[in-house]
């Protein structure tokens, strides 16, 4: 494949125009609304019970106890986090919950056994401990849900990078002034810029709210972890945008491109989960996209999260090159 004279100046110009044009074209506006409402609703659902707990403490004790609130969040969040991270199966989590129930209800003779049993199941693995104890647990929980949910939303922004202009033959006018490579990579970059800006708005709003309203975590810890979460989310969006670039270059209908992007992103995950019930190795199908390892972006070990970042870049390069090859060789 011959990459025909990609010009940095042209790519910069096209990407900046494309990121500004995103809202004007409608797809950016729809994405902006859906992403903001989704991100803030997730935060609302997770923060609301904590606020209710704080209000109850205020009512009953006359003041709030941040340590007690943090402990409650850890207690509730631990099994869910372990399940999301794949550290424990649902069966183990149910057994752990049952052991906890037994230790609460058993008489004094059985208490030692109950505590032992509970300890066996309740031991924190380093990853869960890092997310819930060493970092602001509430923000960790929000990031975990956003890491899972945002890939479903991104196709609303990235589905129509070139397919609409292929359909209307509008690219022919642009090609008089620049190369296909500049258009393809410029629009990809513009979409990444817009997506990163939206992720930044979501993370800043949530962090600012947590810091100013709930005040259960130190500001510095919140800001540091928010920066990490923002980078994780922003980087995770890049390979999914590249998938949409590939699909957009393959078809010449924006609607079909949107449907295919949705089906591909969700289908890989659902296919792997559903397939693994019938045939265990089918779970590896989710590695076709970053689904299988994307949680590693929040891993405590630098080797893990750097590996995840590198994998993101490899996926991105692969999908972009496949899309570019198709865009370069097809009739426009």
């Amino acid at each position: 494949m011959n990459l025909k004279r990609p010009t940095i100046g042209h790519i910069r110009l096209i990407s900046l125009y494309w990121s500004r044009y995103a809202v004007r074209s409608g797809s950016g506006l729809v994405y902006l609304l859906i992403a903001l409402i989704f991100g803030l609703s997730v935060a609302h659902i997770l923060i609301m019970p904590v606020e209710q707990l704080m209000a109850r403490q205020e009512r009953e004790m006359g003041h709030t106890d941040p340590q007690a609130i943090r402990n409650t969040i850890i207690d509730i969040g631990q099994p869910v986090t372990q399940w999301i991270l794949g550290q424990k199966s649902m069966k183990e989590i149910i057994q752990q919950s049952a052991a906890r129930q037994r230790s609460v209800t058993s008489d004094s003779n059985d208490t030692a056994v109950g505590v032992e049993e509970q300890k066996k199941y309740a031991d924190f693995d380093p990853w869960t401990s890092f997310l819930l104890e060493k970092r602001p647990a509430l923000l960790s929980a929000i990031f975990l849900v956003l890491l899972f949910g945002m890939p479903f939303v991104i196709s609303f922004l990235a589905y129509n990078q070139v397919s609409g202009d292929i359909q209307s033959y509008g690219l022919r006018y642009l090609l008089l002034r620049t190369e296909r490579s500049n258009i393809y990579f410029g629009r990809f970059l513009g979409t990444v810029i817009f997506s990163t800006a939206v992720v930044a708005i979501i993370v800043v709003t949530i962090t600012f709210y947590l810091g100013m309203k709930t005040r259960i975590y130190p500001a510095l810890a919140l800001a540091g972890w928010a920066a990490h979460g923002f980078l994780a989310l922003a980087i995770l969006m890049v390979p999914y945008i590249a998938v949409c670039s590939l699909i957009s270059a393959l078809v010449d209908s924006p609607f079909l491109s949107l449907v295919l992007a949705k089906v591909t992103i969700a289908g890989v995950l659902l296919g792997a989960i559903a397939g693994s019930f019938a045939w265990k190795p089918a779970k590896y199908f989710m590695y076709v996209l970053p689904w299988g390892w994307q949680s590693n972006l929040l891993h405590p070990e630098p080797a893990h999260w750097l590996g995840a970042v590198l994998a993101c870049l490899v996926y991105t390069a692969l999908f972009l090159m496949l899309g570019y090859y198709r865009f370069q060789t097809r009739d426009l």
Partner: protein, 152 residues
């Protein structure tokens, strides 16, 4: 003279306006029904939080109800009218009415937050921010991105 082409974003904004306006009118019906039958709703099966919330609505009185109802009605009507204005690229019906909706909506959110108890949706929480997203986006877009389009 060539006809001005409407940007996709403005069409999307109009469609969203119609959806929110429709929800608003349905909400108004629900609000009216709730206020009409509030004395007949059994509270025996409600938990403590639900009872507190219910009592807050029972005690709000007619003037507050009229205030909430009028604000919701005005917002829904403005959303509908500005949606039509966006589609027709009208300066008054689109830009002016759209801006009026956004300002009224932002002001009413702030007033509700200050005036009402948390049981009635008052106070400041992330829900308040979610409610402010659309009016703020409308205000920004109508005065920057789509400013030159709404000129008819």
């Amino acid at each position: 003279m060539s006809e001005q082409k409407r940007p996709g974003g403005l069409t999307a904004l109009a469609v969203i306006n119609f959806i929110f306006s429709g929800w608003g009118f349905i909400g108004l019906l629900g609000l009216a029904a709730f206020f009409a039958f509030i004395g007949k709703i059994p509270t025996d099966d409600m938990n403590e939080a639900q009872k507190t919330q219910f009592e807050a609505f029972q005690n709000m009185g007619l003037p507050v109800f009229i205030f909430i109802f009028a604000l919701s009605l005005i917002s829904s009507v403005l959303l509908l009218l500005s949606g039509i204005g966006y589609l027709k690229l009208k300066k008054f019906l689109g830009r002016m009415i759209g801006n009026t909706y956004a300002v009224i909506s932002i002001v009413s959110s702030v007033i509700s937050g200050i005036m009402f108890p948390s049981e009635m949706g008052g106070g400041f929480n992330i829900g308040t921010i979610i409610g402010l997203i659309y009016p703020i986006i409308t205000l920004i877009l109508l005065n920057t991105t789509f400013k030159e389009d709404l000129t008819n």
